[in-house]
Structure formats: structure tokens, C-alpha cells
Symmetry: C2
Subunit: 243 residues, 2 copies
């Protein structure tokens, strides 16, 4: 009888994986990971060169269709069926052997594995190994404290409405904005309205090859970066910078 | 010519240290860490058994006095002098050899090393290795996602005023409350006023021996835990739990 071990892989640099996750990845016989069809998959890329010979890989490819929009109820149903199917397949595999599921960042922090995790409750043993969240890798790229003292930190997603973004951006010392991509124009306008745009950084592919660090105000309007996070640093750093 | 390498050690379990931090700790010849006088020090405890033979240790002991209160301007001056002194000593050491500074969690996230980091700017090369923040270890202890979808996460410190705590607790999906200790009574009252107390968890010594996970509502009023964080999970999990 095996179990499912979800390994948080950290922000992208394999050297920032935890000692425990690295050990599980190297020893794994069954390795599952999400990816878009036609892409290697971000989680799989992080462990390149680490898998043992003979490890069996299970790419969990998101359903693609040209007929329904990604934000339609029909696509939500497709995605539900996809998660149901993979939860069943992994639970079946775990009857015989351990299965390692690769997950970028920390699995419990907005991780896609949670859609399987909720479905696996009570069906099989699931172990989750914490990882350094992507945002931590990003704020390390700047080389300044994101928060000190009694700073308030707010984590937002770019999928929120513009008015809500503005209100929350006005009301926090440090800001982390996830899920940027196509929302970057909205995020930029909201930061501007909140008076925080000149303090904002864009970090793309933090800790990975091709890392880019830029002031958001300098990023081209039409830019739509992958794996990017927007950061505004807390008051302790801003005070120091103003000295 | 050496440099200063600040190693984020993660939440407490040495197995959750990054591969890079573990390598630096094992190879270090000079190892500095903060501690209270008469205590082994949390960071030093995490690396117990990992230091090489012959490693030279530099416990940076916080100034203690029975004559001034910890929140007085006089104590702030003592602390400033303490940080100035250690920044100078580490910079001096780094003229000849690498110096590893141990730091719990992630150094850039409320880390005490930042007081040295700011003072070392331009004086010596400083490298910081990201770690899993303490809060991540704590939310992993519960085994549920802290945030999913478009959840808003707010990180607060128990040192904030009660009214501000209430207002911010009302206005976020997930909550992380750091710096609990003597502030726990105030945090509990604020959660109650915000209608979030029954959702709140206390995690003490997350991922470490002696870990304690409890619903805050069940914790004794007079309890004043060490290394504890209060968590309220985001709406995705609360919805699931209500099914």
C-alpha cells in the first residue's frame, strides 16, 4: 500500500527545493505533474536531470478545446472531470506504490494540486512537503526585505475587480500580486489609482534562468509575462530608501 | 576576500531547509546567529548536528538589562548599538573568509538579519538564501490550503492596535497573524469582534518537535506560546468544509 507525496518544489531554482523534497524526487518511481498540452510543464522542468532511471512519468495535461471559452461553465465542467479522473488514477496507483506529485512553490498556497487533494480525502494517504512559495523567490530577487516590524502584507490576485484592487492596494504596506499575465494592464491602472505604481516591481521567472526584474512603470504596456509577480515593498524599506 | 551568506533555514524542521542552505551550513567555517542570553537560540537549534568540526560560532546575544523596558527609547538605542557592533564585526570577518549567518524562516520576511543587512550595504558582499517562511510551515501543519482561487491573504502582526486588527480581519479571506506571544489576548478579542474566532487556529512550533495545533477558541486564555502563529483559512476551504 503506497501513498501520494506532493512535493513543493519551491520557486524554480532546483537548489531552493527542500532537502526532503529533493530526496523524494530523486527516489520516485511514479512521478505525476500538471502541464499544458505541448509544453514541458513548469514543475517538470524544475526537476530536469533529477529523476531516477526507470521513473514512470504521468503528465496530467489540462483539457484543451477550441469550442468553449476557458471561463465558461462548460470549461469548468471539463476541468472537474479532468480532476476527478486524475484523482481516481493516482488513488489507483497508490494502492500499489508511492506516487510523487510535483508542484511548483508551496502546494497549500494557491497550488493546483489542491483540486486533487480535496478529491483524495479519505481515499488514500496524502503527504504534502512544504516548499518556498514563488512570491518568496521573487522578493529575494530584489534583495530587500518585503516586510519588517509591524508591516501589513496583502496577497492579491490580478483576477480581482479593478475597484477592489485599488481599495486593497491603498490599504496595505507591502503588496504581492499573483496571477498577473493578461491582468497586467488592470493591475497597473489599479496601482496608479492607489498611488503605488512608482513603488511596484515586476519579477518574471524569479530564481529561474531568464529571470527579469523591472520597475513595473518601465514595463511595456503590451507585455504579458509568464510566471510573473508584482511586488510593492513595505514601509521599513521605503523609509530607508528615502533617507 | 569573503562574503556574508545569510541562510534562510525554513520553519524549523532541518529537512525543510533548502538544498543550498544545507550545503552552506555544513561547509561553514564561521557561523553567526542571534539568540537571547541563556537560550540556545532557535536558528542554532535548527542546525544542531550539521556544523562541521572546527566551525567557529558567533552567538549574537541581544543586550539584556533590568534597568530599561524593552519598548523604551533607551532599549532601542541599546539595540541600535548592538546591531552596529555586530555589523562591524561581521564585515571585519568577511575581509578574510565567508561568514554564514543563520536565520529562521525566510530572511527577507520580517527577519532579524535585516537590521544587519541594512547596515552592511556597500561595506561587504551579502548573499541571502531564501527559506520557507515560518507561516508556510504552520499552514502545512493543518493539511489544508491556506488560499485558493482569488482568495485575499493578509499578514498581520499582533503588535498592531486592536481596532486596526478588527478592521483588517473583517476584510480578508485568509489571515496570518505573526508576533503572537503576549499579544494573544488582544488577537483573540479582535478575531471575536471580526466574527472570525471560530475559524482561527493556533500553531505553535510548526514543523518542530513539540508542535501544537489547536483551535484558538480552545486555547487557555493565560497561554502565551512561543513561536506561534494564528491562521484563518481562505474561503475555498471554508466552502468545502461547509458541504
Amino acid at each position: 500500500m503506497g501513498k501520494i507525496i506532493c512535493c513543493g518544489l519551491g520557486p524554480g531554482d532546483p537548489d531552493l527545493m527542500s532537502v526532503r523534497a529533493a530526496r523524494e524526487v530523486r527516489g520516485a518511481r511514479h512521478v505525476a505533474f500538471f502541464r499544458k498540452k505541448g509544453h514541458p510543464g513548469q514543475a517538470r522542468s524544475i526537476v530536469e536531470g533529477m529523476l531516477s532511471e526507470g521513473a514512470i512519468e504521468y503528465p496530467m495535461e489540462y483539457p484543451v478545446t477550441t469550442e468553449v471559452a476557458f471561463d465558461s461553465p462548460e470549461y469548468a465542467r471539463l476541468l472537474d472531470a479532468f480532476h476527478d479522473d486524475w484523482a481516481a488514477r493516482l488513488a489507483e496507483l497508490a494502492l500499489r506504490d508511492d506516487v510523487v506529485v510535483l508542484c511548483e512553490g508551496d502546494p497549500y498556497f494557491y497550488g493546483s494540486f489542491m483540486h486533487l487533494h480535496l478529491r483524495l480525502q479519505g481515499r488514500t494517504e496524502v503527504e504534502v512537503i512544504a516548499g518556498i512559495p514563488g512570491m518568496v523567490g521573487c522578493w529575494n530577487a530584489i534583495g530587500r526585505p518585503i516586510a519588517l516590524g509591524d508591516d501589513v502584507v496583502t496577497v492579491l490576485t490580478g483576477t480581482l475587480g479593478e475597484d477592489e484592487l485599488v481599495r486593497r492596494m491603498r490599504n496595505s504596506d507591502a503588496l504581492v500580486i499573483m496571477k498577473t499575465g493578461r491582468n497586467l494592464g488592470k493591475i497597473r491602472r489599479a496601482l496608479q489609482s492607489a498611488g503605488r505604481l512608482t513603488d511596484a516591481w515586476l519579477i518574471e521567472r524569479g530564481t529561474m534562468p531568464g529571470e527579469r526584474v523591472a520597475r513595473l512603470v518601465d514595463v511595456d504596456e503590451t507585455d504579458c509575462p509568464y510566471f510573473a509577480i508584482v511586488l510593492v515593498y513595505g514601509k521599513a524599506w521605503r523609509m530607508k530608501a528615502a533617507e
